[in-house]
């Protein structure tokens, strides 16, 4: 009897002709902005991964010692497509390496946020009652802080800011977005039949949450996480700009903007300009990608 059923299910799948992933990909591909976002994201990942190969110069090598004063604050040219900074470092190479820092922070901070936000959101949404009240209260409290000040305060508690600290601190605030989305999804699913069936079978709560409901709400969580990447990368750049993130001589985009800012008044715009373009490009990439994923994955929700 059991085998019969499984055979039937298999047949249905074969008849439909394509798997879920293929269908998603087809829908995703139709969306021009989504594809643009995907291509842009891939280029950033490529830049980060292969910076060691494609960067024309060492990102922290100060060319003024080998090439003399000509290498100092050189304007963009064929040898230095984005110019050089005060120490003769090639800005193009530094921007490429900067992708590593930004992506690392983006990915790890998002992981921290997911680790906190998904369980709490699931608990609040599934359990409701006092549990929901407490978690929602916590979310509201965190929301009340100006994000950048909260992260700054956490980072400044420790004497030596390290990148680990930065992404943990960002994750500690970014989880509220993930939590909100997860909670909403769990609330809308908790009274559905398949959950009641699992409950009636006597399954433990954690199993219902993680095995039965969570797989159904993965899509909105992934979308939220993707859309959140841009915000995290901007936040990290802001921290570095204020001097609390990556420390010199790390090629961090935010740090480069702050290093170059005093030379802007002298017309040496390139030092601060190109890292900003890189940030904008990255944020755009993740926004397009997130929007595209939403359109492809989330057929039921109209924004």
């Amino acid at each position: 009897m059991n085998t019969n059923i499984s055979v039937k299910v298999k047949n249905v799948k074969v008849e439909s002709g394509e798997g879920l992933l293929q269908e998603l990909w087809r829908r995703f591909r139709r969306n021009k902005l989504a594809m643009l976002g995907l291509i842009m994201t891939v280029t950033i990942i490529l830049a980060a991964v292969s910076a060691g190969v494609i960067a024309p110069y060492d990102p922290i090598k100060q060319l003024i010692w080998t090439e003399g004063a000509a290498a100092k604050l050189a304007s963009p040219s064929l040898t230095h497509p984005m110019g050089t900074d005060l120490y003769g470092r090639d800005i193009f190479s530094r921007v490429l390496y900067g992708a590593r820092i930004s992506l690392q922070i983006g990915i790890f901070a998002t992981l921290v946020a997911l680790l906190i936000g998904v369980p709490l959101g699931a608990l609040a949404g599934y359990k409701g009652g006092i549990c929901d009240d407490l978690i929602s209260w916590l979310v509201n409290v965190v929301f009340a802080f100006p994000f950048i000040l909260f992260v700054l305060a956490v980072v400044s508690i420790f004497q030596n800011p390290s990148l680990y600290l930065v992404f943990v601190a960002i994750g500690l605030i970014d989880w509220v977005f993930i939590c909100r989305v997860t909670r909403g999804q769990f609330i809308s699913l908790r009274s559905r039949e398949f959950v009641e069936a699992a409950h009636a079978l006597g399954l433990p709560t954690w199993r219902i949450i993680f095995r039965h409901i969570l797989p159904n709400v993965i899509a909105p969580i992934i979308i939220q996480a993707t859309l959140g990447m841009g915000g995290i990368i901007t936040l990290e750049a802001g921290l570095a700009y204020l001097g609390f993130g990556a420390q010199p001589p790390t090629p961090s985009w935010g740090l480069m903007i702050s290093e170059g800012q005093q030379y802007i008044a002298q017309g040496k715009w390139w030092w601060s300009f190109f890292p900003g373009v890189a940030i904008m490009y990255t944020v755009l990439a993740f926004n397009f990608l997130g929007d595209g994923l939403r359109d492809a994955l989330d057929v039921r929700q109209k924004r």
């Binding site: 508690i157 802001g238 802007i264 008044a265 944020v283």
Partner: protein, 310 residues
């Protein structure tokens, strides 16, 4: 309407308590002795002990907490570690500057966002529409401190239309660039949202009826459609308050604007914890109050919300 406001106020109380307590905990786990920091390099043990006593740091943590809450209720934020200044009075002078910056940023962004959004929607798929939406997409994704630097480069150093950084004599010429900078992101979001809302409303039956009646296109757009597209606009203003206050911290730093955000960053550099604590509390309270106002105004603009807030 009154119960709506009362309920909102009641909801805010535990959140305020949470914020205040979270700040206390954050500052309590800070390693290092503030008394030693205040006494400086030459501080002998006796001085340090006296300062510890004066600050109440020799009390058990629970008593420190009750003392802290009591002082807060009186509006006392303690003394700065750096200079013998009351945190509350230092923040008071800076707070006006932050409010002036943020409110103007909001006004400018609403004006810009609405205009761009309305024209884009009215002339959908025209060159203006594409250009405006392209700029809006860039505006959403550009980091605020970078936008500020570019504006400085062009308008202050390049064209010389406005002075550079600082608040100067307080004239509007010093305010323009920081306010425009801070307003870029909300303006861009608003432009995109206004456009999509307007497009939706312009396709409704009642808009068609208005057109059929012979109402001029200008009146259709400005009167019939715009009114209905306003609710999402309030929503976006509500969601942007947090962004505006965070952005103010950065904008004030770029433009050397004498506000609470810059005060907080300076305090962080100096590890002046009472000052940080005060600035964070004041900004968080500002956020909560602003949100309260937005919540209440929802009920004002859309009566349906008053009845089903549960």
């Amino acid at each position: 309407m009154f119960t709506h406001i009362a309920r909102r106020l009641l909801y805010a109380i535990p959140v305020v308590w949470g914020v205040v307590t979270a700040v206390f905990i954050l500052m309590a786990v800070v390693p290092g002795d503030p008394a030693r920091l205040m006494a400086g390099q030459r501080g002998d043990p006796a001085t340090i002990a006296r300062i510890r006593h004066d600050l109440g740091l020799d009390l058990p943590i629970t008593q420190q907490y009750t003392k802290y809450i009591k002082e807060l209720l009186r509006g006392d934020l303690g003394m700065s570690y750096r200079n013998n200044e009351r945190v509350a009075s230092a923040i008071k002078t800076r707070f006006t500057a932050t409010m002036r910056l943020t409110l103007w940023a909001m006004l400018i962004s609403v004006a810009r966002g609405l205009t761009l959004g309305i024209i884009s929607a009215a002339k959908q798929y025209a060159i203006f529409d594409y250009a405006a939406m392209f700029i809006a997409i860039l505006g959403v994704s550009a980091p605020v401190f970078w936008v500020g630097l570019l504006l400085l480069l062009v308008f202050a150093y390049g064209l010389g239309w406005v002075p550079g950084v600082g608040a100067g004599d307080g004239s509007w010429r010093y305010l323009v660039l920081p306010a425009v900078t801070l307003g870029v992101r909300p303006a861009a979001l608003l432009a995109r949202l206004t456009r999509s809302c307007m497009l939706e409303v312009l396709n409704q039956d009642y808009t068609r009826t208005a057109r059929a009646k012979g109402v001029s296109e200008r009146m259709v757009v400005l009167k019939h459609a715009l009114k209905n597209a306003m609710i999402p606009v309030i929503t976006i203003i509500g969601t942007q308050i947090s962004d505006l206050l965070s952005g103010a911290v950065l904008t004030e730093s770029i433009f050397a604007w004498p506000g609470v955000g810059r005060l907080a960053v300076e305090a962080l550099v100096n590890r002046d914890f009472p000052m940080i604590r005060g600035a964070v509390i004041v900004l968080a309270l500002t956020f909560l109050v602003a949100n309260l106002i937005v919540d209440i105004s929802y009920g004002f603009f859309d009566p349906r919300i008053r009845y089903d807030t549960e």
